[in-house]
C-alpha cells in the first residue's frame, strides 16, 4: 500500500467519523444513577412519577438503579402516553442486599397485568388509579419490610405527609392510601459503605425475572430493552 493510499484511508475515516454521533438510549437520569457508585449521590432512590403512581427503588447497585430508573421512565411513557411531567429523583443508598430491581419488575408486571388481564382500557381513571395505588402500596410496603428485615431493623420508615396534588384524581384517594403509597425509607447511614459494592446478584435477579417470566408482553419489551443495557460486573 502506498503512502498516498494510507493517507487517503486515514483521511476518509477521519473526515467521516470525527463528527459521528450515536443515539444514546438512556437519559440523563442514568448518569445520576450511575453516579451513585462514585459516591456523588447517596441514599435511597425514590421516584415519584406523580401523586398517584409511586415506585420506590430502594438500595441496590448503580446499575440496578439505572435499570429501574430508565425502565420506570419508559414505563411511565408507555402507560401514560406522555413524558414524565415532574420527576423528582432522589438517590439514596440503603441496603444493596435488598431487591430493588425485583420490586420494579414485579411492579411493572403487575401494572401490565392490570392493564391487560383486567382490561384496564375500559377502566376509568379513578379505577386505574386504585389498581395502581394498591399494587404499589403492596410493593413498597413489602420491600420496606424486606429492607427492614435485612438491615437488622436499622431502617426507619417514615410516611410522607406531603402528597403531590398534580393529578386531578388524587383527591379520590383516601388519606390512608396516600400515606401508604408514598412511604419513604430513610437512608441507612451505617451502610453507605456499600456504595461501591457491586452486587451482581441484583442484576441476575432482574434477568431471571424478566426472562423466566416473559409476561406481560408490552411491558416486558420495555424492560428487556433496558435490561440489555446491563453489563454484568466482574
Amino acid at each position: 500500500m502506498s503512502t498516498n493510499e494510507s493517507h487517503k484511508i486515514d483521511e476518509l475515516f477521519r473526515d467521516e467519523l470525527s463528527d459521528y454521533t450515536v443515539p444514546v438510549a438512556v437519559s440523563t437520569l442514568s448518569l445520576t444513577a450511575l453516579a451513585v457508585k462514585k459516591g456523588l449521590f447517596y441514599k435511597l432512590s425514590l421516584i415519584k412519577l406523580n401523586s398517584i403512581t409511586g415506585i420506590a427503588i430502594i438500595g441496590g447497585t448503580a446499575t440496578t438503579a439505572t435499570v429501574a430508573t430508565v425502565a420506570t421512565v419508559k414505563l411511565y411513557k408507555h402507560y401514560h402516553k406522555s413524558n414524565v411531567p415532574a420527576l423528582q429523583h432522589e438517590v439514596k443508598q440503603a441496603d444493596a442486599k435488598t431487591a430493588p430491581a425485583q420490586l420494579f419488575v414485579d411492579t411493572a408486571q403487575q401494572m401490565s397485568q392490570a392493564i391487560s388481564s383486567e382490561n384496564a382500557a375500559t377502566l376509568n381513571s379513578e379505577e386505574k388509579t386504585n389498581v395502581q395505588t394498591k399494587m404499589i402500596q403492596n410493593q413498597v410496603s413489602s420491600t420496606v419490610h424486606s429492607i427492614d428485615k435485612s438491615a437488622n431493623n436499622n431502617v426507619v420508615t417514615t410516611p410522607t405527609k406531603n402528597v403531590s396534588t398534580q393529578s386531578n384524581v388524587a383527591s379520590n384517594i383516601n388519606s390512608q392510601t396516600q400515606t401508604q403509597n408514598l412511604v419513604v425509607t430513610n437512608p441507612v447511614q451505617a451502610q453507605t459503605s456499600v456504595v461501591d459494592t457491586v452486587k451482581p446478584q441484583s442484576i441476575k435477579t432482574v434477568r431471571q425475572v424478566v426472562y423466566v417470566k416473559p409476561k406481560p408482553v408490552v411491558i416486558q419489551d420495555t424492560v428487556v430493552t433496558v435490561i440489555k443495557k446491563v453489563r454484568p460486573k466482574k
Binding site: 500500500m1 484511508i9 475515516f13 444514546v24 442514568s30 448518569l31 445520576t32
Partner: protein, 203 residues
Amino acid sequence: MLFSIGKKHTEEQLLKGCQKRDEKIRNETYSTWAPYMKAVCLRYLANDELAEDIMHEAFIKVFTNIDKLVWKGDGSFKAWTVRVMVNCSIDYLKQAKKLNNVSIDDVAEIADEYEDEDDGSLFGMIKKQGIGKDELMAMLESLPESNRLVFNLYAIEQLKHKEIAEVLGIAEEASRARLKRARIQLKEKLAIRCHYVHKSVLV
C-alpha cells in the same frame, strides 16, 4: 428537575457551570455531547452497550475531575472530554486484558506484504459511490481490537506512534505494524464494498 435541560450555553459556560457543580449545566453538557462521546467510545470498543457504559463512566470522571481543567479556548473542554473518553475506553480494554501483542514475525510479515503501489482508482470509486458514516463505522468496528485501537489513535485522534506506544504500553514498531494491518483490512473492506477488484487489494 432532571429532565429540564434549559437553554444552550457556550462551551466555556458549560465548563464553568460544571466546575460549580451546577446540576443543570452538567445535564446540558451530558445531553449535548453524549451522542458524540458515545461514538468516540464506540470506535474503540465496537460494542454499543459497552460504549454507552464506558461513556457514562467517563462522564463521571469528567465531572469529578473538572476542577483540573483550565479553559484554553473554544474546543478545549470538548477535546479534553474526548480524551477522557478515549482513555477510559482504552483502560477498560486493558483491564479486560483484551489487548493482544503483535510478534516481531507479524511486523516483518506485514512490512513485506505489500509493495508501494498507487491504487488511487479505489478511492475514485469510493468517492463516486459514496460510503455512509454508518458503513465506515461498521468497518472500523469490525477490525480486530488491537488494530482498531491503533488506527483510531493514529488516524482519527492523530497521535504519533510514540504516543500511541505509551498509551497502549506497546512498542512503537508494534504500533506501526498494527496501523498498517488496520489500513490493509480497511482497504479490503472498502474494495469489497465498492466491488473493486485489484491484485493489491484481494490477496
